[in-house]
Amino acid sequence: MNFREYKIGARMFGFCLGGSMCITLLMPSFDFRSANSTEVALDKQLSAGWETGWNVYDPLMLGKNKPLKVLLKADPKTGEAFKEAKFAYVYNPGTPMPNAADHPGNLGGTVETLSREKGKITEFNKATGAVYLIQKDGDSLYVENATATKGWMPSDVMGKAADGDIEQVGKGKTMFVREGCWWCHTLLPEETQDWQVFGAPPYLGDFNGESPTAFGSDRKAPDLLHVGSRNSSKEWMMLHFFNPRLVQPHSIMPRFDYMWGDKDANGQAIDYNKWRAEYNEYHEGKRANPPEVPAYAKDSEIRSLIDFMLSLK
């Protein structure tokens, strides 16, 4: 570095790159921090949990240590029926808490204040678990830690919940990330079009606490941000995931039959080779109907993925 020019150049380089990072990283971060969570964001982060990409609590991405979204029809303590059923987000003992619990600043504005003061969101104990609710105070939303405010324990809620009322959304989102659904299906209807078919584009506060957002960039298939509003049929989803060509002959989606696992809903072993052979016969016109798609077991991976799909309202 013998020339004065190189010293000036090195400083200029640092100045330019630092300035560029100031404009493109520091300045937007103020805008991001000022975004208040919407109800969509609260539902997404509470139902998906701390992280649905790779993390140390779920190193093989099997959907371990994820919360459950449970439809409550009655108070789990008193048994008193609610006028309107509502969702509780159950974090069983040991499950990592949602981002809102240890970083309430992520919630933004009044949502943060109310969640701290009325919702007691910071008073959690990971070892005993927690139950969260989304509450309204006038026009303002907040997250309530019902374990701290009402004494609802995860076991109280889970003990009374029927399997049909439980949605494994957090595990399902993990499957969505692991199986690469987002390489073709975006989660981002565009602002300039897409309103009629794929629905409204998301708002600024729709993502607080969500990770990964998995917008997708290369759309080769329909946008899924509001898919649960367009199609809420579990049966259709089941056929479509097992072999998309059963319900849409022109689909180029891969088959996700391997997500059924070894056994079906009745505990019978699934004979994939037989199914594929029979499907091929149907495809070649040698059979009138395709073979029956096996019903999935309630702890199968596909069940959680379908739960996640239907949660995308």
Binding site: F3, M12, F13, C16, L17, S20, M21, I23, T24, L25, P28, S29, D31, F32, A35, G53, W54, P59, M61, N106, V177, R178, E179, G180, W183, L188, E190, E191, T192, Q193, D194, V197, P201, P202, Y203, L204, D206, F207, N208, G209, S211, P212, T213, A214, F215, G216, S217, D218, R219, K220, A221, R245, H250, S251, I252, M253, P254, R255, Y258, Y272
Partner: protein, 468 residues
């Protein structure tokens, strides 16, 4: 290679690290384009190899992308740096031993990361797909040793000035470390929501804009003057290129998310800055093409010049697309369609690959001191690569325009899928040609190492006539 890992630095033959990087990069190119061809087959024929997660499209797509970026392109860069930086400094590589370890750790880390990714174990963030321990590995064991070697070689040079290529190399290795560490902040510190989404694309933009594009261009600044014997047309225009990349091209990250609810000022700023890519692009292309004055016959006769100039010519449509497709006026139509896929391949498989291909051809021949085994195979490589890429690019551009029309008129999506089908088949055929061309290249370079004519001391490979 292994026998040199624990040898004394002085005992390791000069150029060893670059040669291993060169062959590694070609091997990864074969792997990466093979995966690309397989993925394309699945988009054309969805029931081709099915019912197994290891061969599911969603498991293989990102393996193709990262094998090509970190295996082929970045290792070819490492090869080019370890060959060119010492040549321009009239010295030896600072540490061949560090270079060899770098190559070994690079191959190990990349294989591990890609295997995990293939199993679906990733961060769920495009381009920064690797889990954060692998991201840190990339920064510390892949990028940092390379950077140290490049910087030390530049500092220990035995000439006074630093030539254009070495500015870009020295700055590029610095910027890629910064980009890796900053772009992965969401994973390292668990940033969520829009910060995560935006930083994903901040990373994706800058790894292309501050690593791949400038370093590829830097290679051309070496290859063309070296092989043609003409001095670089203008040092000043080189300055303009370098500083406009640093100032303008480090800023438009938000133009990848024009439809997301990011702050409007950020999108507008990114969009205006994005058009300014035309400044470094025009500076670069004009500088290289003007350097060719009086030597255009070499575009026909010399394989290295032909590869380089083809890549430079592809920078013209690349940057015209890149500058304008991200403005709101055009982006709404083509965002998220196959047009973008075509553009990305024009950048990496068109522009950048052809420049690096030339560097690997020239570098391996020079360092192994052997003339290319076969010009015929080299020509086959060039034409299969160029025609395969062109088929891919044209078919994906058309598919993207169809998709864009389908998008704005909101036709049922399945009709778009049906309309795109022939172009998916064409894309697969083009991609397969690229794959085959690289197998030919690997064979050609292997035979060059084995039986290529020995180049006499003091001569350059392009001074010898081709024999086959």
């Amino acid at each position: 290679m292994f026998k040199y890992l624990f040898a004394k630095n002085e005992d390791i033959p000069s150029g060893s690290a670059a040669v291993f990087f060169g062959f590694s990069s070609i091997l990864w190119f074969v792997v990466g384009t093979g995966l690309g061809s397989f993925n394309a087959a699945k988009l054309a024929f969805p029931d081709f190899v099915t019912g197994n997660e290891w061969f599911a499209f969603g498991h293989m797509r990102q393996v193709h992308v990262l094998a090509v970026i970190l295996g082929w392109i970045s290792m070819a860069f490492a090869m080019a740096m370890m060959y060119i930086t010492p040549v321009l400094g009239n010295t030896r590589l600072w540490s061949e031993k560090l270079g060899l370890w770098n190559c070994l750790l690079w191959n190990i880390g990349l294989s591990l990361g890609l295997t995990l990714l293939w199993a679906g174990i990733g961060s769920g963030r495009e381009y920064s797909d690797f889990i954060w321990p692998i991201d840190l590995y990339v920064a510390v064991f892949i990028a940092l040793p390379l950077a140290i070697n490049v910087w030390m070689t530049i500092l220990k040079r035995r000439v006074q000035g630093i030539y254009t290529t070495n500015w870009f190399f020295g700055a590029g290795v610095f910027m890629v470390i910064i980009v890796y560490l900053t772009g992965n902040l969401p994973e390292l510190f668990h940033l969520t929501g829009l910060s995560e989404a935006y930083l994903t694309w901040w990373f994706a933009h800058n790894v292309l804009g501050l690593w791949i594009t400038p370093v590829a261009a830097a290679i051309a600044y070496f290859t063309i003057p070296k092989v043609t014997g003409n001095p670089l047309y203008s040092h000043r225009i080189g300055h303009l290129h370098f500083w406009s990349v640093v100032v303008f091209y480090s800023t438009p990250a938000a133009h990848h998310l024009m439809s997301a609810p990011l702050p409007e000022w950020l999108k507008s700023f990114a969009s205006v800055e994005g058009v300014l890519i035309l400044v470094p692009a025009i500076a670069f292309v004009s500088n290289i093409l003007l350097t060719m004055q009086g030597k255009w016959y070499m575009f026909v006769e010399s394989l290295e010049v032909r590869f380089t100039i083809t890549g430079v010519l592809m920078a013209i449509p690349l940057n015209m697309q890149g500058g304008f497709q991200q403005t709101r006026a055009i982006n709404w139509y083509i965002h998220g369609t196959g047009w973008i896929v075509a553009h990305a391949h024009l950048a990496l498989l068109g522009f950048s690959t052809f420049l690096e291909g030339a560097a690997v051809y020239l570098g391996l021949q020079s360092l192994m001191k052997r003339k290319l085994y076969s010009l015929t195979l080299g020509n086959m490589h060039f034409w299969l690569l160029l025609i395969g890429f062109s088929i891919y690019w044209i078919s994906m551009t058309i598919a993207g325009l169809i998709q864009g029309a389908g998008k704005i008129y909101e036709v049922p999506y399945i009709d778009v899928v049906i309309a795109e089908h022939p172009y998916m088949i064409a894309r697969w055929l083009g991609g397969t040609m690229v794959f085959i061309s690289n197998i030919i290249w690997l064979y050609n370079m292997w035979m060059t190492a084995r039986v290529g004519t020995v180049i006499p001391a003091g001569r350059m490979p392009h001074e010898l006539a081709y024999e086959r």
